[in-house]
Symmetry: C2
Subunit: 389 residues, 2 copies
């Protein structure tokens, strides 16, 4: 027994050393980022060998799509640091530039992939980002499942949120279909969009109705997000075949059928919502119009609007007529959100004129900013409380 106990002591000592199972340690003892009560944030990087280290953050003034940078200062131990001015409450991303090489922060394990880029994230609390944090409230279940899509001749991965209490009740729930943008996938809304935290929090506050939220993969040529499919661990790309050629719209019934036959869903269009960002706004626009009596709640977040004139799909034929039919069939909410500096602002403005001509009612939300997850999280947080009421 004595011998065994001694070996346990060795295990404890060993465990408290830098041992991290098989992984290669990339960290150090620094804290970075350090978020302070006044919303200033300190970033630190130990790099004694570097000649210049810059911080690049999504809150800095950008040059077009190139994010801004700020020089960091080095101390005698080779630790570079920078304390920001107060940063708005949000989920923020950043990286370091070490002698021109863009790297992630080795002291921050929280990373999110967006297409082929991985960046560190942090949350500044004390404002709207309190909806993005895990709070002491009941939590829904998040499942990754695979559904059969005969229309795409594929089995495809899908992310499904069921609200707290779903498993223990016998109730039927309304469903929101929540679609990602170009370069995204079935992980995008849960990762960058913080959708599951927003849902848990708004439901707990009594502001949103308990609902099922379905986050499919809108890239119909893909089985699943990068790394989750038979394609293996390849380098993701922004553009994929058949994303905006009508296929997603035509094969959407595969998803609807899967959900309605596998979950306790409340029936009828009053219990179905569809919303999406950018390309997902485009998909939501066209799906809700192509099946013009299916959704009573539609959300277009910074939507792309029209198909290319090179695309010939029955989905995009009879555009005005199908909108009129959708309008005549009736719905509860047709919500459009766009940022003032969004490159799609003009397209959305033209689309609103068309809706006005047709006499199709919509709710319009114009925000600051552009084509960004900051806006899409805002839009989702505003859109959810309006649903199914």
């Amino acid at each position: 027994m004595k011998k065994l106990v001694t070996l346990f002591a060795a295990f404890t000592i060993f465990s408290s050393s830098s041992f991290a199972q098989q992984a290669l340690s990339g960290g150090s003892d620094l804290t970075s980022p350090e978020i302070k009560a006044d919303r200033t944030v300190t970033f630190r990087l130990k790099a004694p060998g570097a000649k210049e280290v810059k911080l690049s953050g999504d809150w800095m003034p950008a040059q077009g799509w190139t994010p801004g940078t700020e020089l960091m200062a080095k101390d005698k131990d080779g630790v570079w640091s920078l304390t920001s001015t107060p940063i708005t409450s949000d989920l923020h991303s950043y990286s370091f530039l070490v002698d021109g090489l863009r790297i992630t922060d080795p002291n921050n394990v929280y990373l999110i992939r967006d297409v082929a880029s991985v960046t560190n994230v942090f949350i500044v609390p004390g404002g709207k980002a309190d909806l993005y944090t895990v709070n002491a409230v009941p939590h829904g279940t998040v499942s990754r499942r695979w559904y059969s899509s005969p229309g795409n001749n594929l089995t495809r991965r899908i992310t499904i949120y069921t609200p707290p209490g779903y498993e223990s009740s016998k109730q039927d729930y309304p469903v929101l279909y929540l679609l990602h943008g170009m370069g995204g996938d079935e992980e995008a809304w849960a990762a960058l969009g913080r959708a599951t935290q927003i849902l848990d929090n708004l439901i707990a506050q009594g502001k949103a109705k308990p609902m099922i939220v379905v986050m499919p993969n809108g890239n119909v040529a893909q089985e699943a997000a990068p790394g989750e499919s038979t394609e293996g661990l390849y380098k993701p790309t922004m553009q994929l075949p058949h994303t905006m050629d009508g296929t997603m719209e035509q094969t959407f019934p595969d998803i609807l059928k899967f959900i309605e036959s596998n979950y306790r869903t409340a029936k009828g269009k009053e219990n179905r919502a569809i919303a999406g960002l950018s390309m997902g706004g485009y998909h939501s626009l066209h799906i809700s119009r192509f099946y013009p009596n299916t959704f009573a709640w539609v959300g277009l977040f910074s939507p792309a609007v029209m198909a290319s004139d090179k695309v010939s799909s029955p989905v995009y034929a009879n555009f005005d007529e199908s909108l009129k039919k959708q309008s005549a069939n009736g719905y509860k909410l047709y919500w459009i959100g766009i940022g003032k500096t969004d490159f799609l602002y003009k397209a959305v403005s033209d689309y609103r004129s068309k809706l006005d001509q047709i006499g199709m009612k919509y709710t319009y939300r114009e925000s600051e900013g552009g084509h960004s997850w900051t806006n899409w999280r805002d839009y989702l947080s505003e859109f959810l409380p309006m649903l199914f009421k």
Copy 2:
């Protein structure tokens, strides 16, 4: 209409540029790692400003717990590269050392966190790692749920794999409880362990029975994995309170009750297995002994064996007597796996002597290597086919 189409064209151009929604681009056009048919792998990093770049990989000879490194060579464009000798089929991790600073590969979006370290991973196919890849087989569902643990006065997050066909059948399924090691959490087996891919593949090959696999969080002071709890996005640490003091064992019935009342589980100990690595092997050993008629299948992967003599918990009292009781009650499999160079080798050897003295039967598997995920994935791949038969 013309105007809208023109704006669509702008969207397409814009989308095919380096735009990646709001994230800050960290990548470049290089391919890294590039895995070739002969199992050599080429790594590349563009860092014209660096004086020295090294590659550090888990397949290189290590110095104790310090992984080995190899110098990379720079070309005229400032791209550093290295082509490895053939690497064994496995999930491998690596990082770069740029003038002494350990960084991840900006061209590889596949990363796994282990405690406070994040490293890139890649898979070399053509051998045992074919079990770790997503293949064209039916896929199980992976759910993250929250269960009530009155014993810990917490609601806690848990990862649950249900096999292909679970949702569409009315069948009851056997259950494996699969426990992680120190510094791990409810994500460890799915991420580093590739457990869901191994299960999908072995079930599809008819080698493993369809089963539910429950991956709880063994750190009873935690609600959930880092970043998934009310503690927010903090820096994870290796050691946590109450991990090996009997609390996990004493509160294990909260998990059992949750699973058996929420899933179609086949009843009786013949339909229950428990296995774990390192600290999870310790938990499996003690849980199966403390509830000596609950599990007919036990797997101890590189297990820590004994509680510290400073711990006074009823769980660790009457050690030999409870083992004898477990032995007398009968079981189907008591499986122990350990690597020849594992720092726990001697402890496991002493434990086997104890079992021999008691006359408690076990299956012993001695492998090459040490305390590593390479071994734990192997052990899981060997253990699963033996269960529930």
